[in-house]
């Protein structure tokens, strides 16, 4: 009985510690969200969302060009980074059981943990300086794409590894060409992981500031040309923070709220899309599973 009591006590203690840790982990997140909404929300109105930045702290200033800039930077970066990342992941998972694949995996892991400022410096040296493109949207997108690639490649590889080997073997045994087996069976069953990985990468680069300072530079004007400097939300936050103006400081919080909203919106909408798709095919899956188990 005594022993039982002791065990119960230890159990309660352990649960208590675990619960405290959970609270400690969640509190900062909630606190940040509340603070951003509390301070940022009053700054947001239609004019704020549609006017351009000026950096002067006068009325009529907004973040419209920075929103456009962030969307363009993320769009361009995704167009470069997602295909390369996904196909790298496919290669490493499906064809990478050799020395070369190991090497790619190794360097991917290193690249994934690279400080983003170093990647910005690389993009600066390569695109801005050596290729002489100058500070531009495309240079910024290049840097962001490089940050995306290892994230997307790693998650794609993980997702493909989660697919049971029997499926791969089954497809090949039926005489399906390897290319089709990968694209139509492996990749399809791994799609949740692949999409999640891509989203993670998009969310990550949407908030990057350091590599953009050295590549996309900044512009207070409406610009969408790939070869001109462009504004972005994270940089707007940083620049406004550094300004002595109180108005701009508040607008920095407003910009933070908009940035968080954009990232969350992308995240949630694609997740919802994915869920409704999965539900539709559930019935099919069940019968297929029953058939499998019957056969076994």
């Amino acid at each position: 009985m005594n022993n039982f009591k002791r065990r119960k006590l230890v159990n309660m203690l352990a649960s208590g510690v675990a619960l405290t840790c959970v609270v400690l982990a969640v509190v900062p997140l909630i606190y940040i969200l509340i603070e951003v909404v509390r301070i940022g929300a009053p700054a947001i109105d239609w004019e704020f969302l549609t006017s351009r930045t000026k950096g002067t702290g006068e009325p009529g200033e907004g973040i419209g060009n920075a929103i456009l800039g962030t969307l363009l930077l993320v769009g361009y970066a995704s167009a470069i980074g997602l295909p390369i990342g996904i196909f790298t992941g496919i290669y490493v998972s499906e064809f990478g059981n050799n020395r070369f694949g190991e090497t790619v995996r190794f360097f991917n892991d290193i690249l994934a943990n690279f400080p983003s400022i170093v990647i910005g410096l690389l993009a600066y040296a390569l695109v801005v300086d050596y290729m002489d493109v100058g500070f531009s949207l495309i240079a910024g997108a290049f840097a962001l794409a490089i940050i995306m690639i290892p994230i997307v490649a790693n998650t794609t590889e993980e997702a493909l590894r989660m697919v049971p080997n029997s499926l791969r073997e089954g497809a090949l045994a039926l005489g399906v060409p390897r290319r089709r087996a990968v694209m139509r069976i492996m990749l399809v069953n791994a799609k949740a992981g692949v999409v999640t990985g891509s989203l993670l990468a998009v969310a990550r680069i949407a908030g990057e500031t350091a590599p953009l300072i050295l590549t996309a530079f900044y512009s207070n004007y409406w610009s969408a040309s790939p070869f001109e400097p462009i504004a972005s939300l994270p940089q707007t936050i940083f620049r406004n923070y550094n300004s002595p103006s109180e108005v701009l400081l508040q607008q920095a919080w407003g910009a933070a709220l908009v940035l968080i909203t954009i990232v969350l919106a992308i995240n949630i909408s694609v997740r919802l899309l994915m869920r409704s798709r999965t539900k539709k095919s559930k019935a099919v899956k069940k019968t297929w599973l029953t058939r499998l188990s019957l056969r076994a």
């Binding site: 769009g75 361009y76 995704s78 989660m162 990749l187 004007y221 040309s225 550094n242 095919s281």
Partner: protein
């Protein structure tokens, strides 16, 4: 526990999709890619049609010192309106050092720097100095019991060297007769990042205190003893505001905008002077300046003479090439003309915006030097203006 293993297996199987069903879902990933591609195409289209292709638009880029940034951005905005939205000026900040690197690499059309170039640097690269405004560094403090702190250079140096560690030190007492000083120890707050503000402040301390000069010297970053480091002017401002009994150095504009009290400083003539736009301008009035393409490295308006001159003041410079044409930057003639026009406007009409942003307007003698400098700028050998 076996439950975990089972659940894992469960999710795995849940994810399995029949091959013939999967074709459609597989398309989804490519649909996502396609959407991204469409965004890009649309972006390029908009870029070409509505923005980048706009006829006659000239984009000028600058980078460097963050200290004059609010003023340069204000100029950029006003000048944009002035030119009927034809000339766009981007200023990227990044610090004086970054600005100098980037103009040497010819990625920007002008650089901002708080520190002048050395004589060899400016002649090797063919860069000219255009002082565009004046700034003051103030000694901000958080000691509510002292309403009007008075300090002199050597005392400030000793506080930041930690030779004076308490507020009621006799040296501070002698400068503030009749004030009851608290017994608390002083916390010094300094810039943790490399900065032009530190360059100006340490330059002043080195000028008025030989001990500081030999031990620390002037620099963009100084290894201060036993101080709290904060990043940027906002960082130091906030730290001073929230740390009781602290003292730190910040740009005048940040002290005014954030309602942080700052000390009166004893100047060269022995008067206690409050940092203001007038007293900052007064510091520049008496100095003799070189021509724009001359050697500016010795120019210094710290602790300069004049009854009302604030002692911790400095010029901040715009650097441009004397010959604007070069193969690397591919600057065209129109851009060169617009750059010179913009700077001409900035040192004349632009000065009226200095006041509201807490920058000191240039004295007339400095504007004259700038006029001569801008008139000497050439493009392929021919003067631009």
């Amino acid at each position: 526990m076996s439950g975990i293993a089972k659940r894992e297996e469960g999710t795995r199987e849940e994810g399995i999709v029949m091959p013939h069903k999967g074709g459609r879902a597989g398309l989804m990933i490519f649909a996502v890619l396609a959407v991204a591609a469409i965004i890009v195409v649309a972006a390029i289209a908009t870029g070409m049609l509505s923005f980048g292709g706009e006829k006659g638009t000239v984009t000028l880029s600058g980078a460097g010192a963050t200290f004059p940034m609010p003023l340069i951005l204000k100029w950029a905005d006003e000048y944009y309106n002035e030119t009927d939205e034809r000339v766009q000026v981007n200023y990227g900040g990044g610090g004086s050092g970054a600005g100098i690197t980037q103009i040497k690499d010819k990625h920007v059309d002008f650089a901002g720097s708080d520190a002048p170039l050395s004589a060899t640097e400016s002649s090797t690269f063919g860069l000219v100095h255009i002082p565009e405004t004046l700034g003051a560094v103030v000694v901000a403090y958080n000691e509510p019991s002292i309403a009007d702190l008075k300090l002199d250079g050597p005392t400030i140096a000793r506080i930041f060297m930690k030779n004076i560690t308490v507020w009621n030190d006799p040296a501070i007492g002698a400068l503030n007769p009749g004030v009851t000083l608290p017994t608390d120890s002083i916390t010094t707050v300094v810039r943790s990042d490399s900065s032009g503000t530190t360059f100006v402040f340490s330059g002043y301390l080195a000028k008025v205190s030989t001990e500081f000069d030999t031990l620390y010297g002037q620099g963009k970053s100084v290894i201060w003893p036993d101080a709290i480091g904060a990043s940027g002017n906002p960082g130091v401002t906030q730290t001073v505001k929230t740390t009781a009994h602290s003292i730190g150095y910040i740009e005048l504009a940040y002290a005014i905008e954030n309602d942080v009290p700052f000390a009166q400083v004893k100047n060269h003539d022995g008067n206690f002077v409050v940092a203001s736009l007038e007293s900052t301008s007064a510091a520049a009035a008496g100095v003799t300046l070189p021509a724009g393409d001359g050697d500016w490295s010795q120019v210094n308006i710290l602790d300069s003479p004049g009854a009302n001159a604030y002692p911790i003041a400095s010029f901040t410079y715009i650097l441009i090439y004397k010959e604007l044409y070069n193969e690397e930057s591919e600057m065209n003639k129109t851009a060169a003309e617009e750059l010179v026009s913009f700077l001409w406007w900035a040192v004349h009409d632009g000065q009226e915006y200095a006041d509201e942003l807490h920058y000191a307007p240039l004295p007339a003698s400095v504007v004259e030097i700038n006029e001569a400098t801008l008139e000497s700028i050439t493009y392929e050998g021919a003067t631009v203006r």
